[in-house]
């Protein structure tokens, strides 16, 4: 019962967080100089008469009071209608419906590879402290944390294109159901680039957790009782290190969403990050608000799932 109450409490706090985020986004966007008309026209706005500008303001709906704009957007969002893009006049839900699966797929693969790299190398390093395996693991983590993803991504794109005439992401993006093989090729390389930083952080956490757990009393007792090496590693070390790994993975997911913004630009993926950048440039507020809200919701939901997973993997937390 306490778990259910905790879930309800987390959902309520998530709603409050998202409302707060929506207000902050709304205010920040309005503090930016310019509006959709100016972003659309640039300096050509000076060529229009006041009457022409008034006609465009009406067309873009930029003349409404800010409070009215916020509540009409909030009302529309709560009723499932995210509004219409000021620039393309497409429904925001359609734009997000096209972009979100791309980013989710990218994030999934990046997390998967990052966790595999991080946990694998982290366990390996932690089991061989001070030896060459540990040095190699530490080296991988330093490289992963030190190289910015935009540099690694650009280098990979240029290398593949110039040496192998290969840049699958530059073909029109295809969904996984349409052409799974081409879809895999389009996603795997940006996911690899994104995963390196994630893997490096998880690697360090896993290594530290393994070293810590290895020296706890219960671990030494288990070894003393003659538990096999394999069982000791997977049942005792791995499972007991998992809480720290999970926490780090949840945090990394937040950075991952930020990373997709840059990687989608370099690898030409029509995802949420690219949609966000374009919409900010165009002062396309309905799109920016909705995309940011979805990013925030994603972050909050993942962290809530991480909290719930604690209860699954560590029985002690269920009693709290």
């Amino acid at each position: 019962m306490s778990v259910y109450l905790a879930v309800v409490r987390r959902i309520l706090s998530m709603i409050v967080t998202l409302i707060g985020v929506s207000i902050i986004i709304f205010i920040v966007l309005r503090l930016l100089p310019g509006n959709a008309v100016q972003a659309s026209l640039g300096v050509s706005e000076g060529l229009l008469t006041h009457a022409q500008i008034a006609a465009l303001d009406k067309y873009y709906g930029v003349g409404q009071p800010a409070v009215q704009q916020y509540f009409s957007w909030l009302h529309a969002t709560l009723t499932g209608n995210l509004g219409v893009s000021l620039v393309s006049r497409s429904a925001v839900s359609t734009l997000i419906g096209t972009a979100l699966p791309v980013t989710l797929e990218l994030a999934f693969f990046a997390m998967l590879i990052g966790v595999l790299i991080g946990v694998g190398f982290g366990m390996w390093s932690g089991l061989h402290p001070g030896r060459w395996q540990d040095d190699l693991g530490q080296g991988v983590s330093v490289v992963g944390l030190a190289i910015p993803t935009f540099i690694l991504g650009t280098l990979l794109v240029v290398f593949m294109a110039s040496k192998f005439h290969y840049f699958p992401s530059s073909l029109p993006f295809v969904g996984i159901a349409t052409n799974p093989w081409l879809n895999f090729q389009q996603i795997i390389f940006p996911a690899l680039v994104l995963s390196l930083g994630i893997g490096a952080a998880i690697l360090r956490t896993t290594r530290a957790a393994v070293l810590e757990v290895e020296n706890l009393n219960f671990a030494r007792t288990a070894l003393g009782k003659g538990v096999s090496r394999r069982a000791f590693i997977w049942r005792h070390l791995f499972l007991n290190s998992l809480t720290a790994v999970l926490t780090m993975s949840g945090i990394q997911f937040g950075y991952l969403l930020g990373g997709t913004v840059i990687i989608e630009q370099i690898f030409i993926l029509p995802g949420m990050g690219r949609l966000l950048i374009t919409s900010i440039t165009n002062r396309d507020f309905p799109v920016v608000q909705s995309v940011t809200l979805i990013f925030a919701a994603g972050f909050v939901i993942v962290n809530m799932l991480v909290d719930l997973c604690y209860a699954l993997i560590d029985p002690r937390t269920r009693k709290r």
């Binding site: 000076g46 060529l47 006609a55 593949m160 530059s170």
Partner: protein, 512 residues
């Protein structure tokens, strides 16, 4: 444990090394099929709007310029040549323009173009509710009337031969009167150009198919897609990977990184970089102070630092039959001695300080231009502070004239009246950001606009260039190249210097 990791490590390394080669082989089929059916052009921009009367983004002009025609157009030599009007004549002291229309032209909806469509199109462009940014180009037109099915007569309030240049912009596209009445232009493009609108994915791609009824003959390219690729480096990579057939680029460093086996075309585009000055207040209201800046400016060095020398130092009229020659009547090249003399005349022998705004969002080279100029001006004691602004902040300040100096990239036109009438002419729309006005400039602009003889116009526009530079109204700097890099299989494409119709030769392009 050690053994398991070791084997897996070797397997993973082998997989990683072979994966690119395996993928590469498999992708060739995909790219070949894409290339075979669709001609893909990579560009960092995306098509935003599809109503030709309201577009301002260069790529919108390019795309809609392939779907629509105008009455006249500018050719690669920047001369006005026929498009939907086959001939024209000014009369009544250059206050009446009569245009004869091309016959047998069909819109995408199958209807035949008549003078009624032209009247409806130009009337729509003039209407306040349309908010056509080029409406002022035909602002002198008081009456648009059909004279038979294939003749249109424009009546102007005053002599205005520049109206012809105004009719060449895509903002004056000809569309069916029925579509205007039905209000479908903003959602369904319907023109007479070589291509028909097919599909548009916001911020991603814009697709057109060959118009089988095009009056100039059906294009060889069946489908053309403008694909948005956010970075120029990624465009170069896509070109080398064979997934696009052409890339539109502006950064010389990226162009130089592409192997020479990919044909490259570079043209000086119809734009110019200038340091605009607010000449009505502060130290820059002193003409000699402005001339000191003009003489201390090393335009070649700025060109080198900003675009690696890939461009041309230009004056107020950068290209076309009336191009400024010399580029400046005062100090066409850097002259520090003369600059110091002007400083003394200005009563500032030790120099002065002013602030220039840039926006690297709008023009990525503006930062390099500003730094180069800053170091040159410092040689005579002029201190130029640089303030870099986000694009919208820059635009707001620029429109309100809230700057002392502004590094700007402005659109140009072969007709100096079209270029500068909006800044310095009578009732100029952009008089505030222009920051300068004089009766002599107004009268020179008017004289050139009213004069229909070639020799007379040449003299009028030479006087305008001299007036602008001898007063150091602004400091004109350079014009840079636009590039198209393409697959070796592309034939018949020529990049036009006219920014808004650079892709017009796609109608005659093929892939071998």
């Amino acid at each position: 444990m050690k053994r398991i990791f070791g084997l897996r490590g070797v397997a993973a390394a082998a997989l990683a090394l072979s994966s690119v080669a395996v993928f590469s082989t498999s992708i060739e089929g995909s790219s070949a099929s894409a290339a075979g059916s669709t001609f893909v052009i990579g560009t960092v921009n995306s098509v935003q709007k599809i109503d030709p009367d309201i577009v301002t983004n260069f790529l919108d002009f390019e795309a809609l310029g392939l779907i629509y025609n105008t009455l006249v157009q500018e050719n690669s030599k920047l001369q006005i040549v026929p498009d939907l009007a086959t001939s024209w004549a000014f009369s009544n002291g250059n206050k009446t323009l009569t245009l004869q229309l091309r016959q047998g032209v069909k819109f995408d909806d199958g209807s035949t173009m008549t003078s009624a469509d032209v009247v409806a199109s130009l009337t729509r462009a003039q209407a306040t509710a349309t908010a056509d940014p080029s409406a002022s180009f035909i602002g002198s037109v008081t009456k648009i009337a059909a004279s038979g099915p294939n003749t249109v007569v424009l009546t102007m309030s005053h002599p205005d031969v520049s109206v012809l240049e105004g009719l060449a912009t895509v903002n004056m596209a000809i569309m069916p009167a029925a579509a205007i009445t039905a209000g479908t232009i903003a959602t369904t493009p319907d023109g007479t150009g070589p291509f028909e609108y097919s599909a548009s994915v916001p911020n991603t791609s814009f697709t057109m198919t060959a118009n089988p009824n095009y009056w100039g003959g059906k294009p060889a390219l069946a489908t053309v897609e403008l694909e948005t690729i956010p970075t120029e480096q990624s465009i170069a990579a896509a070109l080398e990977a064979g997934t696009i057939q052409m890339g539109l680029l502006s950064q010389p460093t990226v162009v130089n990184s592409i192997p020479k086996s990919y044909p490259q075309q570079g043209v000086l585009d119809l734009s110019y970089r200038a340091l605009q000055l607010q000449d009505k207040k502060g130290v820059l209201s002193n003409k000699d102070a402005r001339l000191a800046i003009a003489c201390a400016t090393n335009r070649k060095q700025i060109l080198q630092d900003a675009v690696f020398g890939k461009g041309k130092v230009v004056g107020p009229v950068p290209l076309g039959p009336y191009a400024s020659n010399p580029v400046s009547s005062i100090c066409p090249t850097q002259n520090l001695t003369q600059a110091k003399k002007y400083l003394k005349l200005a009563g500032k022998p030790k120099g002065f300080t002013f602030t220039a705004i840039t926006s690297t969002d709008l023009d990525s080279t503006s930062g390099a231009q500003a730094i180069a100029m800053q170091s040159e001006l410092a040689k005579v004691g002029i201190k130029m502070n640089i303030q870099n602004l986000a694009s919208n902040a820059y635009i707001q300040d620029w429109l309100k004239g809230k700057f002392q100096a502004a590094f700007a990239e402005n659109g140009a036109d072969p007709d100096p009246y079209v270029m500068y009438g909006r800044y310095f002419g009578a009732g100029a729309d952009l008089a505030v950001p222009a920051g300068y006005s004089s009766a002599s400039l107004k009268s020179e602009l008017l004289a050139g606009d009213e004069n229909s003889t070639a020799a007379g116009q040449k003299a009028d526009w030479a006087a305008l260039s001299k007036n602008l530079t001898s007063n150091a109204v602004w400091i004109w700097l350079f014009d840079s190249y636009d590039y198209a890099v393409m697959s070796p299989t592309v034939k018949g494409f020529t990049l036009s210097p006219v920014n808004t119709t650079q892709l017009s030769s796609l109608a005659n392009t093929s892939v071998s």
